[in-house]
Amino acid sequence: MAAADTRADFRTRMQNWLPKIVLAPSVTLMLIFVYGFIFYTIYLSFTGSRMLPSYDWVGLRNYENLFRLSHWEIAITNLGIFASLYIIICTLIGLSLAIFLDQKIRGEGFLRPIYLYPMALSFIVTGTAWKWLLDPGIGIEATMQTWGFTEFTFNWIKDRDMAIYTIVIAAVWQTSGFVMAMFLAGLRGIDNEILKAAQMDGASNWSLYRRIIIPQLRPAFLSAFVILSHLAIKSYDLVIAMTDGGPGRATELPATFMYSYTFTRNQMGIGASSAVIMLMTIAAIMIPYLYAELREKK
């Protein structure tokens, strides 16, 4: 009898502990991988590391140097232009497409994946395709000219002042369908009864959208904003594939800046400090959002 008791006891104890034990590896891995490694990067940003890490403390010198570099200034200015245009245009196009696709379109089930495809494919591949399409020698410009529009020029990708906008074009193409899917899910979640009631009261389509539908999409707007901004700050593949930061440094973004300071200039300390700035920017957007999400769910 006593033996059976201990066995049962062991079993219940196992059943209490097992969930925690099996959860532990994932949590531990992430703790080390995320926080451990991030702290290491933060630490490096305060050292005079160049090609290899060194552990001589230099205080804020890397940050001071970073913000004196014209290269970094270009990168953050570009990020400002890129991120604001990207977020605004994607949201507008995504919302319009969603409202449009919500009008009982024939073959919607077939169209949705097509709108989504650009987001599912490797940015390296699509970026390369865009690079060729935008190349004045063989792409859109050349085609338009042979079709008789000899005055037509579209050489932004080779133009220092305009090249960053070609990245915006490709990035908007990449993400708009995805943003559409987010808004479409929001639209489908709106209570039909309210809409019917408003229509009975004689509300026009326009005021229906302006007064009832759009305000109800607030959560979708918020998540679209957070997701688009973290994608913008992380942008790397598209630039590498389309312009590789060029012409000159015209399309340099923080992520490509960090890469070139690490691997081609051997300035690990400065590279680390730029990484810390990016981390902090994303955290500043993400933490309030998560906080709001958590509070809502409780």
């Binding site: 925690k20 099996v22 994932s26 599912a120 490797s122 987010m182 809409l195 680390a272 810390v276």
Partner: protein, 276 residues
Amino acid sequence: MARAVTTQRKAINTTIAWAIGLLIFFPILWTILTSFKTEGEAVANPPVFLFFDWTLENYAVVQERSNYMRFLWNSIIIAGGSTLLGILVAVPAAWSMAFVPSKRTKDILLWMLSTKMLPAVGVLYPIYLLCIELGVLDSRAALVVILMLINLPIIVWMLYTYFREIPGEILEAARMDGAGLKEELLYILTPMAVPGIASTLLLNFILAWNEAFWTLNLTAVDAAPLTAFIASYSSPEGLFFAKLSAASTMAIAPILILGWFSQKQLVRGLTFGAVK
């Protein structure tokens, strides 16, 4: 939303929607078409759309000149390996959170997901240095582990949401009938969890397949997957247009097929659950 739409309006809307779809799909379609052209036709002015001599020559040349199959194989190993490894690590964690939730479960999940938003540059140095230290730079094994870690939050969380859909009553009923933990896992949970695991596999395979930051920075020759291959040929001097298109088409073909089946998971995964 049920709103009255006239037939004529509907026809116009449908036409416009399809036109936009075509516009969005155009760069992809153009790449695929170009891969079947000769180099001359690929840059022909005015461009030829469908009426050219379809040829498979580009595919043969790409394979012959740059040993394309090796890059493809690397992509398959890295994407497949990291996904499988991730599932192995994540299933117990997701199982535990879904079936034995504690007060902290929601917080842990949200925290896990939030880490996926952080930029990869934040952990580039330690990983790069660790790879040098261990002598695994430019190795497939290192990338399998790194991509597994990168996608682990998404895997755990997706599995969790699928596991939660399994009704708890079934487990209780099984326990009443005397099923132990082993029977429970083997005969009840596993069969019900398979669809969720398959969906998670699919999404993470796509994510790992497309991953470029780590594959570009940590590979050179031996372990370079397709993304690195395409990137190395993206300069016009490297490869001719039709051949580059052939290489690109082969790189996106699996995703064009998988993406069709996993569009829901894609939206769900990439929005971190904001869209169900």
